[in-house]
Each structure stands twice: as C-alpha cells, then as structure tokens.
C-alpha cells in the first residue's frame, strides 16, 4: 500500500523538522518527505491540511491487563484505545497475572499483540520472579523473548541486597533497569500524599520520603553496579532534586512523569474522588509545578500515560479501598498539548516528550521519527479540535480518569502503523 499524506504540518522532533510538506509511505516505511520518490503512485491520499503529521506516539507505560485481568480490559479494547490516541508503540509493565517473568509468557503476549496488528508492544520484564523481590528473573532469556527493560512495576523490592544483585546482573548485559521510587515501609498503608489534604480528609498519607529514600537507594546502587537506570513516575520536587544531584555528580540517569502528575495535585481529590487514587500519589501543587518545569526544560526526559484501566467495581468504593490507577492512552496527546501550550513550548518540543525522547528510553530506533526508511508509524492530529473527555467517548474499557468532563484540545484523525491506516477514514 502506497500512501501520501498531503499538505500536513510535519513535526518530527528527532529531525527538528516543523514544516508543511507531504509524507510518502510505501512498504510500511517512510519513503520520502517533500517531493515524491520517482515513480511513486499513491493508492491512497490522506488530506492533512491544517493537521499535524507526527511520529506515532510512544507510551512508556501502558497496562493492557492481559494476561490475568481481562475483566478490567483486554488487549483488543486497549489496542483500540491506543489507535484512537495515536499511540503506536507501548511499553508494557510486568505487573500482569501471572507477571511477565517468563520468556514463554512474553512471547505469547508479543504474539497476541502482533496478531491484532495494531500498536507495537515492548514488554518490560520483571526484575525478580513474580515481582517478589527474592529471586532474579531470567533476564537474558527474557530479552531474547522481546523484553526491552526490567522493572518491578510498582512493587518495590524490600531486600536491598536483592535489588543490588538484580542491578548488577542486569548491568552485566547492559540491560535497562526501570525503577519506580517507592520505599516499601514508608508507603505501606498510605493512600494519598501526606500533606494538608490527606490530613483534612483523614486519608492515611504517603510521605515524600517514600520517594526520596527509595531514590537515594536506587541512585547509590546504580552508581555501584553501573546499571542503566531509568526512574519512572516521578512525583515530587525533592525527588527531582536528587536526580539532578546525581547527574551533577556525573551519573547518567533518565526519568519520566505521568500525565496525571503533570496536571493534577492532591487538591483534585476533592471529596474522595477515587479516580485520583494513583501510585505514586498526587502530590502538592508545588511538586506538580516543579515537575512541569522540569519536563519543559528537559530535566525530566519523557511523559507517559501510565495507562491503568480499572473497572467500575474497582473504583466505586471508598477511596482507600479502591484500585489505584487511571486510564490514559487516549489522553496522552491532548494532555501533552495542554501542558506544552501552558508552558509556552513549541509543538515540536512538546511532542518530543512522547516520541523521540520516549523512543530513546525504550531503545527504539526505527520508530519515533519520520526519517526516510523509518517504520511508518504516524499520528495525524488536529491540534485545535476540541474534545470532551466522557465515559462514552473513551474506547478503553477503563473509564476511570480524573479528567472526566474536561474539555481538551487535540484530536487524532489518522493513526498509521507500519504504513497501514489503523484509525480514521
């Protein structure tokens, strides 16, 4: 299939491109930009006038809930959500049931995803068996099966000796280690940021120290072991400071933040809105503002949806008894645009956080940009179109998001995966 995307504003952060030009696609790859290659006859032309043509989005954390939690969501429903959100590559956290700690499981997930023929999946393997923090997983075999990194999702390792060994072992192969900074005892039994709001609402709190103490440990161990560390879901200004300090000391460490923590803070819990029950907890306004600034100037490398579909039964309970998490695949683009716009960033710089920068963290080289020869994963969107976030407008099986009722801008018109039109008509 040969496709021409005509008259669009091509924004490709990896190549620092922002200009109106045509994009030519053939054999699942970007064939050319600007002028048509010799003898190119488009079988289909997509009119992208007044639209942005960007690389397909890359999400650093999307829980598809398979295997194990099919009542919350299925691969099919969440792949639909990804396509509607313009997200063409997904890093999958290992906290499925059973967890992604076995090569066979990872192969099965990749196979199922490939058969659906929509977004590409990049499984993140479990660092320890069953995420139990006791025994190392077969990392070399897991990588052969398709894993791109190793993590504990949001189940911290209690025994620091095991954590150090796991990082050492991963460093043996130069595998990526993605860790979410959660100190197990400091976070235990807490449900909201330990601050004024939690105090008022009588919600047991999670202190910022739950993040900083863990971060300090991770950074020290990464220094000793030489592990390639990426910090996921930063939530606090103090945590950010620790990362900056480590970088100043010469350490190479990347980090990301979720769309929820970029736009919300503990005040948004309001009267116990369980959709604001998240891991890590929404912290103070000061923390949120620090995260926004750091993402804008690149101290935080990438933005992700932290997509976690939860069924209604999991949220229609008192706050502390509810399942944490929020659906996010379809919100990634509009919330990135909202933040970029409010921060005075160009579209190019904004989109970089969910394309080129995210690709670097996952280690994707053939996508996340629109260079000739790249995989033709493309997101074509109208940056000015209004959308209203509502239960029935979400394709994800999870309708749980704190942004329900929000009016946002940025509507995906077409999503292409490997040169095939998967969304839009």
């Amino acid at each position: 299939m040969k496709i021409r995307i005509a008259n669009g504003r091509v924004i490709d952060p990896a190549n620092k491109t922002d200009r109106i030009q045509d994009v030519y696609i053939s054999d699942g790859k970007i064939a050319a930009l600007g002028d048509a290659p010799d003898g190119f006859v488009a079988q289909r032309t997509l009119d992208a006038s007044n639209l942005v043509v960007a690389p397909g989005l890359i999400d650093l954390a999307a829980r598809l809930r398979e295997p194990g939690f099919e009542y919350r969501a299925t691969l099919e429903s969440e792949m639909d959500a990804a396509m509607a959100g313009g997200v063409t590559s997904l890093a999958i956290p290992p906290d499925t049931d059973p967890v992604l700690d076995e090569p066979g499981l990872v192969e099965m997930l990749c196979y199922r995803a490939k058969k659906l023929n929509r977004a590409h999946v990049y499984p993140v393997g479990a660092l320890t068996l069953g995420l139990k923090g006791e025994r190392l997983s077969e990392m070399a075999e897991l990588v052969e099966a398709g894993c791109v990194a190793f993590s504990q999702a949001n189940v911290p390792i209690v025994d620091n000796m095991v954590l150090m060994r796991a990082m050492q072992y991963a460093a043996t192969f130069d595998f990526r280690v993605w860790l979410q900074p959660i100190a197990p005892f400091l976070s235990r039994g807490g449900y909201a940021h330990d601050g004024e709001v939690a105090s008022r609402l009588g919600l047991p709190g999670i202190p910022v120290a739950a993040e900083t103490v863990a971060l300090y440990t991770y950074l020290q161990l990464a220094r000793i072991t030489g592990a390639r560390l990426h910090i996921t879901r930063l939530s606090s200004a103090e945590g950010l400071q620790l990362i900056e300090q480590a970088r100043a000391d010469g350490m190479d460490v990347s980090c990301d933040v979720s769309i929820n923590h970029l736009h919300l803070c503990d005040m948004d819990i309001g009267y116990f809105d369980a959709n604001c029950h998240l891991v890590p907890p929404l912290r103070s306004q000061r923390d949120r503002d620090a995260l926004r600034r750091a993402l804008a100037d690149g101290r935080i490398n990438a933005l992700c949806s932290d997509h976690t579909p939860v069924d209604d039964d999991g949220k229609q309970t008192p706050f502390s008894e509810s399942e944490p998490g929020a659906t996010g695949l379809e919100l990634l683009l509009p919330l990135t645009l909202k933040w970029a716009n409010e921060s005075g960033l160009s579209l190019l710089d904004g989109i970089a956080r969910i394309t080129s920068e995210a690709a670097r963290i996952v280690g994707i080289t053939k996508a996340g940009h629109l260079s000739p020869g790249a995989r033709a994963d493309v997101c074509v969107f109208d940056p000015a179109a209004d959308i209203r976030i509502a239960r029935d407008s979400l394709r994800s099986q999870g309708k749980n998001t704190p942004f329900l009722g929000f009016e946002l801008q940025g509507k995906v018109r077409y999503t292409l995966v490997e040169g095939q039109l998967m969304y839009g008509d």
Binding site: S199, R200, G202, L203, P204, F272, S320, E321
Partner: protein
C-alpha cells in the same frame, strides 16, 4: 467544588462533615436541638416528626454508644429504626457497599446513618444517591475512618455553648491522638467555623497529622504549655492498638506526659470544662479524679448527643 451535603438551595441534604459546613447551618442545628433536650424530661418521650419514616443504622464498624444514641434519637422522633451491623473487613469479598445501599433503598429507606472504617464512605453513598436521582434519601455520617464524626462534633459544640455561651472568647485545647481521630477533625472544623479565636492541639508528633497548622490550630507538644489558661479541654480516646508500638512506647508513658490529671488541669482556667467523646481509658488519657470531677461534663455530652442527633434527623427528613 460541588458540596455534596448541601442541595442546590444551600440547604442540608446530608450531614457528612463539618468541614466547610456554613456557620448558619451549624447554629441552626444547635438551636433546633435546644428544645429537644426537654423531650427527655417528659413522661412520654416522643415527638411525631419522623412518623412513618424508615431509618437504617448502617454500621460497618462496631459501635455501641453512637448506634444506641442514634437509635434513641430516631425513636423519640417516632421513626422506624432498623439496625444493620455489617461487620465486614474492607477486603472481604461479598456484597459491595453500594449494592447494600441499593438493596436498602429498594426497601424504601428514608435515611441512612452510616459508620464505616474507610474515610469518605458516606460521601460515596451520597454521590451514588445523587447519581441515581434518589434525592429524597438522606445520609448521616456516624463516623468514617479518620475523617469525620459530625454529630459528635456538633454535640460537643452544643455542650460548649451550654456552658460557655460565647465561642468568640474561648481558648480550646484538643489533647491526644489527633492523627487517627475523626472526632478531632470535626471538632476543629466546627470550632474554627464558629469563631473560636484559639484552637490548640496537644500531643506527640507521632499522633498529630502533617500540616495541622493549616487547619487553623496552634500545635503544642508540651501539655503544660498547651493547657495554660484554656476554657475547654477536649480529651481524645487513645485506641488500644496505638498504645504499644511505633507510635507510642507504652500507655504509662503517654499517661505521664499527656494524661489529664488534676495537677495539669489546674493550669487551665479555674472554670474550664473537661470533655471526652467516650469511651474513656481511665489512667491512660484521663485520670479518674478528673473524669469524675466537678469540671467534667462528659455525661451531659451524652445527653446532649441525643438532642443534637434528633435535630439533625428532623432537619433532614422531618415534615
């Protein structure tokens, strides 16, 4: 933000928390309660205000005193009362909270009096009733987690007003385990709303919530300093499970440092009153001599509690 306990006319639809409840509504409840204290003195202790109404005491957490006083209050207003002790652990599978509520709604409930171990549970119920258009059903929070115990807070205000009249001249101290106390949160909300110029909280750092000052209180760790010249001493109950562990070393040490003794009480104003929401741990947070002493108003609190609960229920569902 939409306040779920007020209807669109700004009237009380549910009683969920005293935090953010306007002063005029608090005063209206206290004023309404006043004549109800006399009902108890009558030979026939009944009023017909809630005749034909069905009130469900929905207790997901054990309670004898609060449930009993709600039951007495409802019966004195001629309501039909059904007690449900749904003692379930939060994680135990089975009927969900909202399924239980839906079932009781199908039995034509007019009011739920809810106690739950999780903060915010009554809000969830109120929101659910709103979402399903059942605006004729009212919810009274009888204690949710660490969050609120509004009728306790109101009866405490009634008691203070009874003995001290003017809130705007008072210094009030709340002593003990504020961190886990829904009573303390409701007291602080009511006292600050009613214009008490100085509300103090006294306790060890392990038992005071983060950022307490933002609630408009002065924080003290030294009992003697904190009790100096106060008009009202409000003691809190120390739960057994908090007495030995990482929050406090022993009940003995707590008593020594924060227990209310006659000697410490002498630092307060001579006419200071001593309150306690009950049940008391004598010899832990309060000495028997003080609990039974002339300054204690702990039993009147219980009596006023019935009148205040009658006031709340009649304002919500009365004709």
């Amino acid at each position: 933000m939409h306040n779920p306990q007020l209807n669109k006319h700004g009237e009380l639809q549910h009683l969920l928390t005293l935090d953010g409840l306007p002063r005029n509504i608090i005063n209206a409840i206290l004023d309404t309660a006043a004549p109800f204290t006399e009902v108890a003195e009558r030979e026939v202790k009944k009023l017909p205000l809630l005749r034909g109404k069905s009130i469900f005491n929905l207790f997901f957490e054990n309670s004898t005193r609060t449930r009993t006083t709600f039951e007495i209050a409802a019966k004195r207003l001629s309501a039909d009362v059904v007690n449900l002790n749904v003692s379930t652990s939060s994680t135990a599978k089975g009927e969900s909270l909202l399924d239980t509520v839906d079932n009781l709604c199908a039995m034509q409930a007019d009011m739920f009096v809810v106690r739950h171990a999780a903060s915010g549970a009554p809000f969830l119920i109120a929101q659910h009733l709103y979402n399903t258009g059942r605006n004729d059903i009212h919810v009274v929070n009888a204690g949710d987690g660490r969050h609120a115990h509004p009728t306790q807070g109101l009866l405490d205000m009634y008691t203070i007003r009874h003995y001290k009249r003017d809130f705007t001249q008072l210094t009030v101290a709340i002593v003990g385990d504020v961190l886990h106390s829904r009573v303390a949160r409701s007291q602080i909300a009511a006292l600050t709303t009613l214009g008490v110029p100085e509300v103090r909280v006294i306790g060890p750092k392990t038992l005071l919530p983060t950022a307490m000052e933002r609630m408009g209180v002065r924080v003290f760790h030294d009992m003697r300093e904190g009790l100096k010249d106060v008009d009202v001493v409000m003691m809190l109950r120390l739960q057994n499970e908090r007495m030995n562990g990482a929050l406090l070393p022993t009940p003995q040490e707590f008593y020594k440092v924060w227990g209310l003794t006659a000697e410490k009480l002498a630092l307060a104003k001579p006419d200071a009153i001593v309150m306690h929401p009950g049940p008391m741990n004598r010899g832990v947070e309060i000495d028997s001599a003080v609990a039974d002493g002339a300054q204690a108003v702990i039993l009147p609190q219980v009596t006023f509690g019935i009148a205040v609960r009658m006031a709340v229920m009649s304002m919500l569902a009365g004709q």
